[in-house]
């Protein structure tokens, strides 16, 4: 082995290059927040002086000033590459703020405006014969309708979706399985209004039934099925094959293996998927508008006559256009959002606690 220890300091390389320095002038750490504050102040100042009344404009001016200012200063102090890096960072941050503001405002408005008339009376009474411009009334009929329609839709869609997923994962080979997989994907993209039109054309126009909660449930079921299939499929695929083989090797028939081994292992995830699907169809308005029509009073029979549902109630109260009906629309929206969010949170909670403990 050659001994290089004697060669303490090598002479400079034969082709000398400009000395590489590790040091790089950097802007101090506090500069981005300070720049942001300055840009905000300047944006507000310009807005005030120019008399722009919309806060959206103030914000846009501030954002532009921040991006350009940061880029210019960084280009001067740190060089072009660092400036580009800073430009990307500012853009990403502003994209984030740009998105958070409307979404936060949406939640905020719903909660603040919705809590105005939301009370026990509102939850336990229907609209009855109350004139739309009058204060009062409630959403009891809408809650009843939504629960019945969503319940019926789940009764139709969940078993079909579950069994289809079992078919695809446990049995599916060949052309039929491929076709089903493909059309489940296609079905995911069907707009809700198209599902509504389909049921309208068959159930009401051709078969001659009137509007009913059940008609709405069928359209909702069409929207729910592909979601259930997809999520259940994912969960079943997570069950390790060793488990199935262990059971089959004991002489347990395949259907009992599926029922006793595969499904219990993945039941948490499947429940989550079904609940998320329920949350999704609870908020669907368009098919309900076409098929359930909306009613002012409680109709406890989902198979006969028009019913109400929460999202449709929001839409119809908004259409009335009086202050009282706007208040009711916001309050119903708050109830709807709370219902959907609670379903989501519980579903994700279940997924977390009951996650299948696979070896992988």
């Amino acid at each position: 082995m050659s001994n290089v220890i004697t060669e303490k300091r090598p002479v400079a390389d034969s082709a000398p290059r400009p000395p590489v320095t590790l040091r790089q002038a950097r802007l101090p750490r506090w500069s981005p927040p300070v720049f942001a504050l300055v840009a905000l102040a300047a944006g507000a100042g310009i807005g005030l002086v120019a008399g722009l009344d919309s806060k959206i404009q103030w914000g846009l001016i501030a954002a532009l000033l921040f991006i350009i200012g940061t880029y210019a200063v960084a280009a001067k102090v740190e060089g072009a590459r660092q400036a580009k890096d800073r430009l990307a960072t500012s853009l990403v941050w502003i994209a984030f703020l740009l998105a958070v503001l409307p979404l936060a405002s949406l939640i905020w408005e719903t909660v603040v405006r919705g809590s105005k008339v939301l009370d026990g009376y509102f939850l336990t009474h229907s609209m009855g014969t109350l004139p739309d411009a009058m204060v009062g009334g409630g959403i009891n009929h809408a809650i009843t309708g939504t629960l019945q329609q969503v319940g019926l839709a789940t009764l139709i869609a969940a078993p079909i979706g579950l069994l289809t997923a079992i078919y695809l994962v446990e049995y599916g080979r060949g052309r039929l399985a491929k076709a089903v997989t493909f059309f489940v994907d296609v079905m995911t993209g069907v707009p809700s209004i198209v599902a509504g039109l389909f049921v309208l054309s068959v159930w009401i126009l051709i078969l001659g039934f009137g509007p009913s909660g059940f008609a709405g449930s069928m359209a909702l079921a069409i929207l729910m099925m592909p979601v259930v299939v997809r999520s259940t499929e994912e969960m079943l695929k997570l069950v390790p094959n060793e488990l199935r083989e262990a059971s089959l090797a004991l002489g347990v028939p395949k259907w009992r293996t599926i029922l006793k081994v595969v499904l219990p292992t993945s039941i948490g995830g499947i429940t989550t998927g079904v609940m998320l699907a329920i949350a999704r169809i609870t908020g669907e308005t368009a098919p309900v508008l076409l098929l359930v029509w909306g009613a002012k009073t409680i109709n406890n029979n989902p198979f006969e006559g028009a019913q109400q549902s929460l999202p449709l109630y929001v839409y119809q109260q908004w259409q009335q256009g009086s202050e009282a009906s706007y208040d009711r629309a916001w309050a119903a929206a708050l109830v709807l959002i709370a219902f959907v969010m609670i379903l989501n949170l519980v579903a994700r909670g279940i997924a977390r606690w009951k996650a299948p403990k696979t070896g992988r």
Binding site: D85, A99, P191
Partner: protein
């Protein structure tokens, strides 16, 4: 298990002697179970076929009765003595509002996805992802309500501003009044599809192999250069398919458009002035005043929407499938 040995139709649950030796599934339980699950799959196919068939059937009825050209007419009057209706305005409005939504939403969504995957402080990143997923579940009617009662009043200032500086283009000219225009619809749709586009893009960005990012880092790349060299190329097809999914939603969105837009059957150059319409919005607004023939006419327009969303979603699936092959080749 050999499925080819099983009869095509679920047999009646007649007691069949289980043959222990052959291992073929002749047990009644197995047969019934397979029959049920395969039957469900077939039911799904039947539903899809029925959707296409019945919509087409009613559409044919409607278009036969249409005294005007279904594709080029600027009018929607199926109930008159001379029924005249056409989808030109709806097609224009649907495409334009969706394009506006995509132009706004995709860059912002990619930005947020990058923020969550690469920029946000680690403690903030995963709760943020969680919140975004939750927001994707907010019902569209609530976006509509918020859009009509909060967004619209706040946009007129911005629109007069745009009119002052860009009004000469014609596209951004704005005569005062409520901002219930296609552009507002585009903004609202953008806000609505942000969560879903963000959430899919974020998933893809998080899948970028660490070693590709480290390769760029070790060459002395800044954070942006790492993203440009390894994250974006890897995630490109994911971004495209996420955008297509978002586009599919924007095209078919009904309630948010119906609440925000002040519709008309004219195509104006200005995007900021009220007017125009979309397929889904038109169905929702015209439904209550439609007779049977009017409903058929709406179904015909729905069929066009159905075909458009099918094409968009199909394209998205194709891109995803390609990406799978692509990443498999590099595994």
């Amino acid at each position: 298990m050999d499925t080819s040995a099983i009869p095509q139709n679920p047999p009646p649950a007649a007691p069949v002697e289980p043959s222990e030796v052959s291992g073929k599934s002749v047990r009644p339980g197995d047969r019934v179970f397979l029959g049920l699950s395969r039957g469900s799959g077939i039911a799904l196919l039947v539903i899809m076929a029925a959707i296409a068939a019945f919509l087409t059937y009613r559409s044919v009825l409607a278009i036969q009765g249409d005294k005007a050209n279904f594709f080029t007419t600027f009018e929607w009057d199926p109930t008159g003595a001379e029924p005249k209706f056409g989808i030109a305005v709806l097609a224009f409005g649907t495409v334009v509002s969706s394009i506006i939504a995509m132009v706004i939403a995709v860059p912002v969504a990619v930005g947020i996805a990058l923020f969550i995957s690469h920029y946000a402080p680690r403690k903030l990143a995963s709760p943020l992802g969680y919140v975004i997923d939750l927001l994707a579940a907010v019902p569209s009617i609530i976006y509509g309500l918020w859009g009509a009662l909060f967004l619209v009043p706040h946009l007129s200032g911005l629109y007069s501003w745009l009119d002052d500086y860009l009004g000469w283009t014609g596209i951004f000219s704005y005569s005062q009044g409520a901002a219930r225009s296609l552009f507002t619809v585009g903004i609202l749709l953008a806000i609505m599809i942000l969560p879903i586009v963000t959430s899919v893009s974020r998933e893809v960005f998080l899948q970028v192999p660490k070693m590709h990012e480290e390769a760029a880092l070790a060459l002395g790349a800044t954070r942006w250069e790492v993203i440009r060299m390894s994250v974006l190329p890897f995630g490109r097809s994911g971004i495209i398919s996420a955008s297509m999914l978002g586009l599919g939603r924007a095209l078919g969105e009904t309630m948010a458009v119906a609440t925000v837009l002040s519709p008309s059957f004219l195509i104006g150059l200005s995007l900021l002035d009220p007017g125009g319409g979309t397929f889904a919005q038109n169905i929702a607004s015209k439904f209550s005043e439609a007779d049977t023939f009017g409903q058929d006419a709406l179904i015909a327009s729905g069929l066009v929407l159905f075909v458009i969303t099918l094409l968009v979603n199909g394209a998205a699936r194709l891109i995803i499938a390609r990406r799978k092959e692509y990443s498999g080749a590099n595994a």
